[in-house]
């Protein structure tokens, strides 16, 4: 089962501004301007490794997630892996 965790904290700079959050990825020098649920995902993935189903359960508990679609979450996680913000294990 594929699991995910957030990139090590020292590789990112995360600055919440208002509705949007800035994430500076040190390795690429790219600044990402992200909306919910990306900061929430990174926060959840910051404490350990999760499969998509485990992550979904955590997000449901913590953030009252309405759209609990594992396929959509997997796509979102793959985007974050591409950007270097999340690691696939």
């Amino acid at each position: 089962m594929t699991s995910y965790r957030a990139a090590p904290p020292e590789t990112l700079r995360i600055v919440p501004l208002d509705a949007l959050t800035l994430i500076y990825h040190r390795a690429s020098g790219i600044t990402h301007v992200v909306d919910a649920p990306v900061p929430e995902l990174l926060e959840a993935l910051g404490v350990g490794e999760f499969t998509v189903d485990q992550l979904l359960a955590t997000l449901k508990d913590r953030y009252d997630l309405l759209d609990a679609d594992p396929a959509a979450l997997a796509v979102r996680l793959d985007e974050l892996v591409q950007a270097g913000l999340v690691e696939r294990l």
């Binding site: 700079r13 501004l17 208002d18 509705a19 949007l20 800035l22 500076y24 020098g29 600044t31 301007v33």
Partner: protein, 281 residues
């Protein structure tokens, strides 16, 4: 090169070399009260692509430390504009110390108002008219943010007035020094205004950014707050070196948008624009 001069604008020192005397003479006249640095940071070259083009339909190519390949040359009558564009080009491409924002800025009481927007938004006109009303002009084209301190440094080059703004500013500053009228440039008629003595004397003095404005000319008067994330995105677009500065740029810009309020203002004419700026500042 045969003809050359040196001048400092704010924290940037330039050496400008030219195949022709006229652009250097114009710079020496209009920048006569500016410091002449010993060691230039940036080099600008105004050159003829072929030797005979020095004389035959002279066409001024802009180069220097950085060059844009295939950029269209300007006629020699617009040599002053070429020199200004050359200095802007070096700043836009070679500046690494400061975060460079394409914005005008004025200062009063140590507080700087930064105004950014697309060409035609009125950055230069508002800055010139605020200078006429007693503000210290910090620059009409670039503001430099020091990542180490967060302070804004000025770049008070000649103010580039275009088309209708020329007459408006001449009426407001009848005793100011102006360069020659340059008709038919790629941006229409251009005439340069020499910043006042105070702007030149204080060019090295930084100021605390106090207000970010995003003006738009030609709309009914309106204003709205700009959230930090929108200000951030707009200012990355207004910066030529945000990416080059990497994390220093990120730090400087996040600090700016988190600490300085931002407003978008629409104004139908310069009078209401000035009133809006002064009411907000």
């Amino acid at each position: 090169m045969r003809h050359a001069t040196r001048l400092a604008i704010g924290p940037a020192a330039f050496r400008i070399g030219s195949d022709w005397r006229a652009p250097i003479a114009a710079l020496d006249d209009l920048y006569r009260d500016y410091p002449k640095p010993e060691v230039p940071d940036f080099n600008v070259h105004l050159f003829a692509a072929r030797p005979w083009r020095k004389f035959l339909r002279p066409a001024v190519h802009i180069g220097g430390d950085y060059t844009i390949p295939d950029a269209a040359p300007l006629p020699l009558a617009q040599g002053l504009l070429a020199a200004e564009m050359g200095m802007n080009l070096q700043m836009a491409l070679a500046q690494r110390w400061f975060l460079l924002l394409h914005a005008s800025a004025v200062e009063r009481g140590g507080r700087a108002v930064l105004m950014t927007g697309i060409s035609g938004a009125g950055k230069s006109t508002l800055a010139a008219l605020l200078m006429a009303r007693g503000w210290r002009l910090m620059g009409d084209e670039f503001v430099l943010i020091d990542p180490a301190t967060g302070l804004a440094h000025g770049f008070p080059r000649l103010i580039s007035l275009k088309n209708q703004a020329i007459a408006v500013v001449r009426a407001a500053l009848p005793d100011a020094r102006f360069g020659p009228l340059l008709p038919g440039t790629p941006k229409g008629d251009i005439r340069h205004l020499v910043p006042d003595a105070r702007a030149i004397a204080a060019m090295a003095a930084p100021a605390e950014p106090a207000l970010l404005l995003f003006p738009r000319f030609g709309f009914d008067a309106a204003e709205r707050p700009v959230p930090p994330s929108e200000a951030f995105v707009r200012l990355t677009q207004a910066s030529t070196n945000y990416v080059h500065l990497a994390e220093r740029g990120f730090d400087a810009l996040t600090r700016l948008v988190r600490t300085v309020p931002a407003r978008a203002i629409d104004y139908p004419d310069t009078e209401s624009g000035i009133a809006l700026v002064e009411a907000l500042a």
